[in-house]
Structures are given as C-alpha cells and as structure tokens.
C-alpha cells in the first residue's frame, strides 16, 4: 500500500488542468455574454450549418474508423501468427511514422494529393485518368486513416497475440475449420482490442480540425473546425463551449457504448 499523500500532486494536476478547465467550458457553454444561464449555446448545434458539420464529422469518423478496422484486423491477425510479427519489427514499422510530427505527416499528404502534386503528376505522366481528391471529404478520410491507423493496429495486435495458442488449437481439435475458429474464437476473444481501437480512432477523428483544414482546403467544415472558428476567429467562446459540450456527449455516448462490450481487459494503451 502506497501512502495516500503520494497521490496529492496528481490530484492537484488533475484539478488544475482537467477539472477546472472542464468547469470553465461548462460555465461558458451554459451562459451568455452577460453571464446569465442559457441553453442557447447548446441549441446552436441545431442550426443548419452546425448540424451539417456535426453529421459530416460523424459520417467521416465512422467511415475512417471502419476502414482502419478493415485494414488493421487482418494485419494484426497475420502479424500475431507469423515469426515476422512476433519479432516486433513490422509493428515497429507501422509505429515509425508516429515519431514524426502529426502536422508534418498531414502536410505530406497535401503535397501528395494536391492538384499537380506528386500523385497527380505521376498519373499525368503515365497517362492515367486524373481525379481530384484534395479538398474533398475523401482526402480527409485518407488523412484520418493514415494518421490514426496505428491506434487501431496496436490494441488489436496486443490482444490477439496474447490469445493462448492452445485455445486456437482446441477449437481446431474440436472440429472447427480455420474460418470457424476465426469467427467463433479469435474474433470474440479479440473484441476488447477492437473496442479499444475503435474508441482510439473514432474520438480523435470526430474532434479533428487540423486534418480537415489541411486536406479539406478550409472548404469542408467539420464540427472541430466550427468549434475552432468560434474560439480562434473570436466569434463566441460561449457558442464554442456549447458546441464542445454537445460533442462531448457524443464522445461519452460512444465510450459508454464501447465499454458495454468491453470487460475491462482491452484497454491496452
């Protein structure tokens, strides 16, 4: 047993940098410029522009999370079963981009996807049909998948590689084909990792404004951009906070939903 007093610095930290700022957001979100209580800031989400941004955010986050899952699961499965994966080298390769600055990585995609950018020029050179992807929702999904894929791979890989080989052997022994073993044993047992991965990709995707600003060319507004503008362009801290609170509800909702399927073993990161 550690002495309780050892935890005080952390409690102080939590109070100063988590609880108090959160209370400020709640305060700003629930008051108007005069300081009077109002729900108008929350209701601001209902305006056409804002709700469109929210639903676009939800849609794109959902899509990028799904793509990440589809890419990450087979990879994690293959890596956990191969000597290559167990050595950790391939996993290391997938984590390597995370050593570089997040902005830099996203900017790199701007250079790659831009009209007359690297990919476009390459297509032109090879006489292939050219298509415009920069400044579209597709480019934003691209960026989200690229930036957040490691957060999907790691928890799933961790959980799958910890599954007892003999449990898999037992399923085969009892007559299950490799496919039956995958969906009756391996997948259910890996669910905690999948849930962790989904949470860790979905939430940053939902709140991002950097990816949409850079790859959406400032024309596509996600809810993160709307909130950013409310604060940075000096429109209204009150509306910005109100929208943040609404977004928070969605995040809390998604976490509650995922924790229902998670028996507590999966939070590996």
């Amino acid at each position: 047993m550690y002495r309780k007093s050892l935890s005080y610095p952390y409690l102080l930290w939590a109070a100063a940098f988590i609880i108090i700022p959160l209370l400020f957001i709640v305060y700003y979100g629930l008051t108007d410029r005069t300081g009077a209580f109002t729900l108008e800031n929350l209701a601001a989400i209902a305006t056409a522009e804002h709700s469109k941004a929210l639903f676009l955010s939800l849609g794109l986050s959902f899509l990028s999370t799904a793509i990440c899952l589809l890419l990450a699961y087979p990879l994690a499965l293959i890596l956990s079963g191969s000597r290559l994966g167990r050595s950790g080298f391939v996993i290391f390769l997938f984590i390597l981009p995370m050593w570089m600055n997040f902005l830099l990585r996203t900017l790199a995609w701007v250079v790659l996807l831009d009209t007359n950018g690297v990919l476009d020029s390459l297509f032109k050179l090879m006489g292939l049909p050219r298509f415009k992807i920069i400044n579209t929702p597709a480019a934003i999904v691209f960026g989200m998948v690229y930036d957040f894929l490691p957060f999907m791979i790691l928890p799933i890989y961790n959980v799958i590689s910890k599954i007892d080989k003999n449990v898999v052997n037992a399923a085969r022994d009892l007559g299950a084909s490799s496919f039956q073993t995958l969906y009756k044993i391996i997948f259910p047992l890996s669910l905690p990792g999948v849930i962790s991965g989904i949470t860790m990709v979905f939430i940053p995707s939902l709140t991002t404004f950097v990816i949409s600003t850079l790859l959406g060319g400032g024309k596509i507004l996600l809810i993160g951009n709307v909130i950013e503008q409310e604060f940075m362009k000096g429109t209204s801290w009150h509306v910005g906070s109100g929208l943040s609170l609404v977004l928070m509800l969605f995040i809390i909702g998604s976490m509650v939903l995922s924790s229902k399927y998670d028996n507590g073993e999966g939070n590996v990161l």
Binding site: D164, N166, V167, N169, A170, A171, R172, D173, L174, G175, A176, S177, Q180, K184, I185, P188, L189, L191
Partner: protein, 357 residues
C-alpha cells in the same frame, strides 16, 4: 498384435536442425491407457502433437484405422486433445464450451443438451452449465476440458500433461478419476507426462522416451522391475546404478565383489550396468551379508527411512522401514532376483542419453 488403432511409422521431426524425433515407430491399441513418459525435450509432446495434427512430421506416416492421416488437419481427425493449461474458451459458459464441437458437427439441440448433462456427470460437475470458465478452480477447469473433448466421442483422447498445473493432492485424485473415466468410456487414452509416478499409477502401457528415441515399452511393472537401460532405471524411481562385469551366467562382479543374480545370456566377462532398487538393499549385522559398509546419511521419509551406506568406496542408496543411525557398521545383502543386469549403451547416442540425466 491386438487391434492397432493408430500407428506412427518412421516418424522424424526436425526443429531448427535438431532432430526431436528420429525414425519413431509406435502403435496404440484400442481401449488402453498409454503413457508417453520422459524428461522435457524427449519428444513426447511432439509425438502427441503429430497424433493430434498440430505438427506435420518431416518424414514418416500416421496411420489411423488403416488410413494415412499424416496431412489431415486436426478438425478432420477422430481424436480429441486435452491441453495442458485447459485452453477453455473464456468467452463462453461451460455448456457452450462443451457444446462447441457438437454444434460444429451440426448435432440437434436435444442431443447436445443430453451430451452436456452426461459429460458433466462423468466429470462430477453437474449443474455447472451456466458458470464461466474463469469462475472455476484449476481442477474443475481441467474436468471441463476433458468433458469438452469426450462429448465428441473420439476414438482416442490425447492428454498433454493435463495435471501439470494442479497441486499434489488434486493430482492424485484426478489420477483415479482419469482411470475411472477411461474405463467408463472404453476409449484409448494417450497420456503425456514427465511424472513417473503418474505414469506408473494410471497406465496399461508406458512408453519411456528420451532425446527422440523410445527407450522402453512395457507395463508399469516391466518398466520398474526390468528397466532395459540405465536411463530408464534412473528415470523411473530411485535406483543404484553400478558398473559391473558379468563373469558368467548368474554371476556378476560389482567393485570386485561377487553377487549371484538370475540373469543369463550376457556371455563371459562382459561389462554391464547393474541396477539395484534402494528398497531391495537389505541391511544387517556386519559380516552377515555380501559386503560391509558404514551408514553415512539418514533421512526420515514418512513411510520409510532413506539411508546412504558407504561400501567399497561407493554410496549405496537404501530404503528401509528399519532405522540404522549414521556411523553404524552394517552389512549389505541383495536377493539375486532383485539384481537387474543391463547392457552397456552401445551407440554414442545412447551414451549421451545416460550422461544427460
């Protein structure tokens, strides 16, 4: 010989350039309790995995009911395995665990329910259907693992050190349970263990293995009383193993002392290994036996005393219910019937086997 159920022919398995099994030939009959016994790394688990289909031999064939099943995957084989650490499906309750194989083979719900009831009764865990594996003790989980395997009515049940993780008392209980289950089911159990006591208690036949070779096959009595080489003698129970010379039939020379024995056919002046079990060494008044010695160590073991007697410059391990204090002069006598003569290892491989122990 009997009804051969499954047969291994000329099996060789190599891991990283190291021969784990070398030209192994072995067959198993119906309705027998067979044990593969040996130290870790002797190839016993690899043999079991080849039978179960989890490993493919580099050479040789596996024959089951007259058919070659060497390359058949585990799910197509009519045998089931009980794994060392239970390997239960932790996301399913007990009933679902037991039903797993039956559901895959498309059995009716009524049939499955009956089977679950029967299997739980067999392993003495009636009423556990809705429990989760995590909420059971190690011994209970192992019983469920057995139940899950036997509901599929395999011809052979493979058991990979299933009692290894249990404590001593539970292990002894489970040994009797396993014998009862085997008799009730009337199928062949192939059991892998490094525990010689387990092997002696449960088996109809024991296969002693070391370094990829079969050292001896026989009943527990054969293996214990008539070990074919020093490795088997040393691995099964305690023993005194001395170098000796077979002077002629029924006469062996150990350290210059002549002992009468009952073995014949070794020829004249042939170097041999002599095995004498510690419980077969009889101590008496000095001068009344074949040779004299002095008690150098004494330990109380419960059922008997274990003593070391120095005679002819050698330590003799002795087990007796009669205590002789340290320093006492005693005589040593061995009944000729209890002296077991073995050929010296011939090949370098076998030599290594002995040195390794």
């Amino acid at each position: 010989m009997g009804n051969r159920l499954i047969e291994l022919q000329n099996i060789t398995k190599i891991y990283d350039g190291h021969k784990v099994l070398d030209d192994l030939n072995l067959y198993f009959n119906e309705n027998k309790f067979l044990t593969l016994l040996g130290p870790s790394g002797c190839g016993k688990t690899t043999t079991l995995r080849i039978l179960g289909g989890f490993e493919t031999p580099d050479e040789g064939r596996v024959i089951f009911g007259g058919e070659d099943i060497t390359s058949l995957p585990p799910n197509k084989r009519q045998l089931n395995t009980v794994f060392q650490k239970y390997a239960l499906f932790t996301h399913m309750n007990i009933a679902e665990n037991i039903a797993f194989g039956l559901k895959i083979s498309g059995k009716s719900k009524a049939y499955i329910d009956d089977k679950i009831k029967y299997a739980l009764k067999l392993v003495n865990l009636e009423g556990y259907e809705k429990r989760m594996p995590d909420s059971l003790s190690g011994g209970q989980q192992q019983r469920i693992a057995i139940a899950r395997a036997i509901v599929n009515e395999p011809k052979i049940l493979l058991l990979d050190e299933p009692l290894g993780a249990l404590d001593l008392k539970l292990r002894q209980e489970m040994q009797y349970e396993l014998i009862r289950m085997k008799n009730e089911l009337g199928i062949t159990f192939i059991y892998v263990t490094h525990d010689q006591e387990e092997a002696l208690t449960m088996s109809d036949t024991i296969v002693v293995m070391n370094q990829g070779y079969i050292q001896q096959i026989g009943t527990p009595e054969d293996i214990y009383n008539e070990p074919t080489n020093a490795f088997v003698a040393d691995f099964i129970g305690d023993s005194n193993i001395f170098p000796g010379t077979m002077l002629e039939d029924k006469v062996v020379d150990i350290f210059g002392i002549i002992f009468p024995c009952v073995d014949t056919g070794f020829g004249r002046n042939r170097p041999v290994d002599v095995v004498i079990r510690p419980e077969d060494v009889e101590l008496g008044e000095p001068g009344c036996g074949t040779l004299d010695g002095v008690v150098s160590h004494l330990i109380f073991k419960g059922v008997h005393y274990e003593m070391e007697v120095t005679a002819c410059g050698q330590e003799w391990l002795v087990q007796s219910t009669k205590m002789h204090p340290v320093g006492q002069k005693v005589s040593i006598r061995v009944d000729p019937f209890n002296i077991q003569i073995m050929n010296k290892p011939e090949s370098e491989d076998e030599e290594a086997v002995v040195l390794d122990v």
